[in-house]
Symmetry: none
């Protein structure tokens, strides 16, 4: 990658230490790599980039087995080359998923070989990146034996990028990297992006915002408002997309589009988009045929329907099943899939209720190739929410879990907030749904299921707006490949590949990242489960960034007599959507975990918690602790001066100053706001 | 810009001097920039390019206000960000044109801010480039307060580029930068070109030659003659253009096409292009609808009709109004505009007469969205001409002023001839037309009016064929943004940004540029208003470059008894097209300025000028003075050796040797030619 334009993130391929060099050289300096597929091209390209960096000498790429060298790297399926067929036991590869792979050190006719193999080319890409990760981390490879398969079949990135205007909704790293106007022209950055994703095992990318009709900005050229995401289904735009699809194809990544449910009317000549109208269904079939003719491995459609102003089946009094299935029947002959978002609200006073109420009764009615895509929590990516009650509630429906990689509510690329601990908490949560294994991570394991991440990638040099927040993309990919990986392992992998192997750097950055989420929860929410106290105005720049608890008081329920939202059976009843014993645990103020307490209960300000502290005092304490923690994390970072490069040190240091400052603001605004209701002094006299 | 492919002209962004660095850093190292529009993307990209170059360190791009830094740059509309809304007085932005902007140093909550704001995103682009110009020039920004609006609503570049064959008519910098065959593929150069134009405030580009059917070159591949500018109206070509339009859109630049008046017959299925035929009018409407569907901000059509062989309304005995209005009715629903060229000649013996005779009677009949585009002089971009008599003569018609940036008659990229002094002379000329302000620059101020420049941009490394001739594009843009800027100011801006702040370099290059035009007039024309003594053959390479006074003797009128063209009332009468007292001044040989003398009068060779010198002797003297001046300018340039980089020094030095040589040729050929008629010796014995 051209380092002066954008960072190479965790694919640095810096020279390895002297003590590993000889061993690496023996097995890596020569590489015998399969051909005949786009994925193998990607493998060869990556070796050309990586090995010279790691070894500080050229790599020899062979198309025959080199018989006169001491050792070599062999990458291919058993069918590609004898060395692999003969070194790997029969059946070891046949057992693997297409995405799975083996990495083994073997001896073959006196040569020291390293084998990367799979039953399919996609697995070769993943295996190669796995090997390179080990090398980047300086791991020994002389006796390596790796077998890997991903936990989820679909590992998908959702871009909320607005085509043509090149903005990213909830993106905090500059404009969209996708220049749709310029397609079929390709930018180098697309390939480097595909490399980053493939190195994590991501196998799908939705290119455009689920809001396919995006609100205009008043001062902009009106022409740019003519072009919006829904236009990507126009023939000439689909033709343009073929080149982008080809880049991702090399890396085993399928492309998807967010589509507008009203497309038959907007793009077609129809005067309706009623999903039961045969002309409409025919239009979708013809559109799908057209797409698959151009992009045979097209993934499918992502749809936000009847939500926040987007068109949907409700326009014609149809339900979500009728809507989703109309698109599904068109994609079905091609193996395509509809990802139908469950993010709907507006008709219930408590929006937490609605997704379950709307979708649970539809279980079993969706077509085989529909996946209902559900956000991790019932509200909207708050710093912390209990999990969605839909998980485990629709056993006859393919479900997808939607996580947010971008930090919409966690500091927007200014605050260093790792989402990994949050995701671990979500995935480990036991829903007690009627399955043998009922943790959240145990769902989404079907062929049509998976996990989706809303990304924050943008044009800035950092890719993610903040060098440390590259770790969120990294962690997302690694975690949904293997949700049993612990947070420390993933974090250490990222740090080592990003900053090198200095133990002090690793320990320090790990501590910063793993402690960052709780700090953010404390200084933004007070740590008792409150949500949505951020600014919600039309000013997009500060939207969801600044504190503004007075704007939507309904969400946190602060009144003179108390705080919190009653979601028990005496309130909105959301707690009862959970299965027992979860429902009971949340229902009862005595057993409800403190971290969710005010999400489920409206309590008097002076309600006593288990340790005797009042609710208001705990809130005060947590807000103050959160800021202190942010300061501590900043100090940790500052201790790294001189131990990492100035560019990244300085960038992050600047953002940390800002983070602490903003954390203080959140603390002061919200504690002051609560104090005005509660009129109860802070025991330490900090609040007024 | 990749410096090895092409020059970065005045957008160099070299490191600023030590004494400015601290102040700049304070206000520029952090930039808080609006989003949500293509133009904001351009702003962010430019900052990413510029600030690291100027400051020699990274720029931090924020999407929120950074509150913990000493200062920052804020770019957005007041609606985008509070810091701007609150630091700029109410109404200050509302008062501005869309293209206008403010740049102010302000203090905001203890921070030192630099604000660039406008009511529209286009103004943000202009404001950003204005700021960067100041930085490039090392200006202090601590107490800056700039308010800018352009003088003219339309600031348009005309390309005389021939699509597909990639030639540029009257272009002397290599082939066309526009590779229409390759569209929709985009070249980086398009974006860099858009940056150069936007940095000057240009807001429109006509992409192709007004000669939409261009004469073929005998030896060329016949296939390439199948493709010509008129084909750009074909559907697939229009689709291709969308990508190019998107690049310019980011920089606030609309694209236009030169169209062939016969298009309904050439491209459509019609057998006529009669502008009053309803099918023809319908064809234009449908074509316009198609264009605006693809390019919603399309500017409109430029038309050269019934001129030098191009189709026009005369084919059907219709007039220019009927022709222009037929196209205008099609563009009108979309806000598009027809620029209809007044460059017609051929039916009068004196071509100077014709434009006025043809167009003045049509005043008031053109549709609202027609602009009549008039060259600065009545002939054709001669080194010096009196201004067109149409200026001020069509008060009921939108007029555009057409200037030539390329040096068709002033040395064709070999001679260093600045057009800036010429343009100042034109713009300052008082027509005494019936308006309060009647200088040429006072016209063209309506919403549908403006100034147009015929460019010489080409694929060469230099962009303009000659490094110093980049100054003509620069000067054009700056001057039509603000015609009150004096030539020295504009020239110094260009030199400083191009060559740096060395006083000696600035003084020397300024002297070269500002003295160059008069030198060229002297050695090519003798300085008394003679025109068109250049080679006029079919050989396109030397066409209008070499002296050839015998070819078209009618233009200069040399006979045995005298020299000059009688355009007084006893001659062609052109002088009478001016308003009084101008007409009288030109009519009378005693009051007619020497510089226009032989343009208006045919005089005996021995006619005595005011100082007693004869006409022929003054011509001899001027031709010799011109060459001496060219030599002096060359010497000035040679004095810069070692003070500027070798590449540009050497390039310009080589061209100066050639310029002096060619100047001698012009002098010798023309003085010799005159001597043969006049048979009067030069007092200094130089001519034979």
């Amino acid at each position: 990658m051209p380092r002066d334009q954008y960072d190479d993130c965790w694919l640095r391929y810096d020279r390895v230490s002297e003590d590993q060099r000889a061993s690496y050289r023996r097995r890596l300096k020569h590489a015998y790599v399969a051909e005949e597929s786009p994925e193998c091209t990607a493998v060869r390209d990556e070796l050309r980039e990586a090995i010279p960096g790691l070894l500080d000498e050229d790599v020899h790429l062979w198309q025959h087995r080199p018989e006169t060298v001491d050792g070599f790297l062999a990458i291919g399926t058993p069918g590609d080359m004898e060395v692999i067929a003969e070194s790997i036991p029969d059946g070891a590869v046949d057992d693997l998923d297409d995405d799975g792979y083996l990495i083994r050190s073997v001896e073959y006719e006196g040569q020291d070989c390293l084998v990367v193999t799979s039953g399919a080319d996609q697995g070769l890409v993943y295996g190669t990146f796995h090997l390179l990760r080990l090398l980047n981390m300086g791991e020994a490879i002389d006796e390596i034996d790796v077998r890997e398969e991903p936990a989820y079949a679909n590992r998908v990135i959702n871009h909320w990028d607005c085509p043509f205007r090149r903005t990213v909704e909830r993106g905090y790293a500059g404009e969209s990297i996708f220049d749709f106007d310029r397609l079929p022209d390709l930018r180098d950055r697309y390939e480097d992006y595909a490399r980053l994703l493939a190195s994590l095992g991501i196998n799908g990318v939705v290119l455009n915002n689920v809001n396919t009709e995006y609100y205009p900005r008043g001062s902009t050229n009106e022409a740019s408002q003519e072009f919006d995401g829904w236009r990507l289904l126009e023939t000439r735009r689909l033709e343009d997309l073929t080149s982008l699809a080809s880049v991702f194809r090399r890396y085993g990544i399928q492309i998807y589009l967010s589509v507008n449910f009203g497309a038959p009317k907007r793009i077609g000549d129809l005067d309706t988009f009623d999903p039961l109208d045969e002309d409409v269904r025919q239009w979708w079939r013809e559109k799908a045929d057209e797409i698959y003719d151009l992009i045979p491995d097209f993934g499918g459609f992502l749809v936000k329907a009847d939500s926040e102003g987007q068109d949907g089946p409700y326009n014609y009094d149809r339900d979500h099943v009728e809507g989703a299935n109309a698109l599904a029947q068109a994609l079905e002959p091609h193996g395509g899939r509809v990802w139908w978002r469950a993010f709907v609200y507006g008709s219930h006073e408590d929006r937490a209720i609605q997704a379950y109420d709307t979708f649970e009764p539809l279980d079993g009615d969706f077509a085989e190739n529909v996946t209902v895509q559900v956000k991790n929590g019932p509200i909207d990516f708050q710093p912390r929410e209990p999990v969605s009650t839909l998980f485990g509630a629709m056993p006859e429906t393919d479900l997808g879990l939607e996580l947010q990689i971008t930090g919409e509510y966690t500091g927007q690329g200014v605050h260093a907030t790792s989402h990994l601990p949050m995701w671990k908490e979500i995935l480990e949560f036991d829903t007690h749904a009627d399955r043998q294994e009922s943790r959240v991570q145990d769902f989404f394991r079907g062929d049509g299921e998976g996990v989706v991440g809303v990304t924050s990638i943008g044009e800035d040099r950092t890719w993610t707006g903040h060098y440390l927040m590259q770790s969120n993309l990294y962690a997302f990919g690694r975690l949904i490949w293997d949700p049993d990986l612990d947070a420390e392992t993933i974090t250490d992998e990222w740090i080592t590949q990003t900053f090198g192997a200095d133990e002090e750097v690793i320990d320090t950055v790990r501590e910063i990242l793993l402690d960052s989420w709780e700090a953010c929860i404390d200084y933004e929410t007070g740590g008792l489960g409150l949500i949505h106290m951020m600014h919600n105005g039309q000013e997009y720049l500060e939207n969801h960034y600044l504190p503004s608890p007075g704007e939507w008081p309904g969400y946190h329920g602060a009144t003179e007599d108390g705080i919190g939202y009653d979601r028990t059976s005496s309130g909105s009843g959301y707690a009862q959507q959970f299965r027992e014993p979860v429902a009971e645990r949340f229902e009862d103020v005595e057993t409800c975990p403190e971290k969710y307490l005010l999400f489920f209960h409206h309590l008097p300000w002076d309600h006593k918690l288990e340790d005797g502290t009042t609710v208001i005092q705990r809130l005060y304490d947590n807000f103050y602790d959160g800021v202190e923690e942010a300061e501590r994390l900043r100090d940790l970072w500052m201790s790294l001066e001189g131990k990492i490069d100035d560019r990244r040190f300085e960038h992050v240091a600047t953002r940390f100053d800002e983070q602490v400052h903003q954390a203080e603001k959140w603390r002061d605004v919200i504690t002051g706001y609560f104090y005005d209701f509660a009129e109860i002094e802070d025991e330490q006299g900090r609040v007024s």
